[in-house]
Amino acid sequence: MIETVFSAELPVREHLLVQKNRIIGADLAAALDAAADDDAPAAPGPRGNVSRETFAREEERLAPDAGSGAHAAPALNDAQRALLDAAPRLAVVTGIHGDELEGQYVAFELARRLNEHRDQVHGIVDIYPAINPLGINAIERGVPGYDLDLNRIFPGDADGPLTEALAAAVVADIAGAAACVDIHASNIFLREMPQIRINELSADELLPLAPLLNIDFVWVHASATVLQSTLAYALNALGTRTLVVETGVGMRITPSEVMRLTEGMLCLAAHLGIWSGPFEEHGAPLISADQAVSFLNAGAAGVFLPKAAHGRRVGKGELIGVIVDPLTGEVRERVTCPASGLLFTLREYPVVYPGSLLARVLSE
């Protein structure tokens, strides 16, 4: 069922809505229905019942107050709430950055698969396709009107401005899940192989889960202070294990990779005891720390033309690409590989400044 995690009124007949798709397994749904006949409800309003029909009526009743499109959570009694709290829950989050769309496919495909086989779902899968819905709508990475990267203000503040109140509501909603996966695409500038990035502070808790997600490699990075303001950091600090996936490229969907990732979500759900249906497993990923990653930054300004293939092994001294000057017809820089290894990041957006990241290579 669709639930609203955060709602704020916008000036002209609209709400900013952060919504999630709560998919409840058949066995849990039956238990909830049975519990509906228990004691009187704790919350005000009519007695809750989790069947689809009841929710539809509930939504109608709440609609005028909640604003168009808003879905209020149904009133639950204590027994039902206890059942939901005790059930294992997987949270799949994406769309914090409005220009990253790879996760949209995963959200759709995962919901489709789970909906088809509710009998094989045991517990709860919460899918949050758009934490920054206005950004996705407007093709803006940040929050339109606030000009701010949403993934730099977590854990947020319920008493703060809209963006921070939104962040706080998202954290509160996800906290307590058995695991959370935050799916990012790369930005529009770089193409990435499917990978998981783990802050070294959470490595012990997260490394056992990471290989389940069908990614090519796991990057355990040093704890930079800037990353303390991400959703993943905030949730891990609260004890909710959260993995960050980076894959593909901004503003595009790469079907082969996101299908693999969807299977990975099912694999993780199975590991958590939430899914008993089929899933495909990919080979074990490479696991690496910062020391093995080489960065190639542009030394000149101009247009970057890649010469090496993304996702392949490259040899030391091999030509990765050239930076050319369209005005003079000159090659400004030849970019060669400093060490042999896996070319897991490659620049996608052609225009570069000095300093623009062109490639990352994982040393062998």
Binding site: S7, A8, E9, L10, P11, V12, R13, H15, L16, R141, G142, G145, Y146, D147, L148, R152, I153, D159, G160, P161, L162, A165, L166, N187, F189, T225, V226, Q228, S229, Y233, F295, N297, A300, A301, G302, V303, V351, V352, Y353, P354, G355, S356, L357
Partner: protein, 373 residues
Amino acid sequence: MRTIELFRLETPYRETLVVEGFAFGPAAADARASVAIVGALRGNEMQQAFICANVVKRLRALEDAGALADVGILVIPVVNSFSMNIAHRFWPMDNTDINRMFPGYDAGETTQRIAAGLFDVIKDATYGIQLASYYLPGEFEPHVRITDTGVVDLAETRRLADLFGFPYALLKQPAPFDTTTLNYNWQVWGVRAFSLFSSVVDRISAGPADFVVDCIMRFLEGIGAIRPELAPAPPADAPAPCEAPAVPEAPVAPAGAQDVSRETAGNGEGAAPAPLRTGMRTGWEVSPRGPYETAFCREDALVNVRTSRAGFFKRVAAIGQRVEEGDALARILSTEDCEVIETLRAPVAGTVFFRHEAALINGETIAFKVMPA
């Protein structure tokens, strides 16, 4: 005045970006102390650039009169000219914020390199002053802000902050993202760092700009960078550095404990309230306001006033205005029929410190901050 090139970056399709600063007083080796004053790190910080440019103008006059002492002063009015020239707030290509890139990295992405190039020059200053802007669109009571990184000597910092003569100094507890700001990193490097907030950002508000320029000049005099006895007399036809409005847009002076009443402060150019402090002469007291006894407050003492509804934003209270609990601060009007759908009221008695500034406002956001009396 010496023009110093701080950083140079070749760019695609545009002229080379050159960040320049203007240096006064002795070179580093001969200086007793040094001050770095940084203006626009963001492309929309016009008021901040304007204030710095006025400081350059005043310092040049003082230098000509031989009134500068043995303190090196470096003023950088605009760092992010590349964004300012094309009406962008952040870096044009990737929308990154230079003020989230400190201390910078000279082999990293473009804005990391800019931050590194700038920081390399200003990290050894004795004092650092940044003309800063807030991330929410709005107007502030002018104030000085100090980040409490835990490494600063608070008593010493308070003594220094007091030299500006702002009505308020705010002590800010750093949030995670603050660790990449200029102010924070200055402190980590042992610089006494101050962020100055003028009233506005992306337009010029002359009165508050004058006031902040005066504050900076008072600070420079307070640390012995200016020899007031040699300073030229203020121009006869003051206000000098910029055209002050005929009527102040918003009263700036604080009320309450101070003996400057709202009425006096709002009385226009002619009726300047007497400065609260005597015994300090900047030679540049063209502004009718200040200096003030600085009230030190923690930032979290500010009380947020949040909206629940969205619509047209009709402000009632002015920045710096003294309000009683329950007083109306603003009304939110329906965008359909202009009926009042929410009245925002002061949750406590105090001074209006921050006010949302736009024709429209969203629900679930901050419209005001009130400093409790």
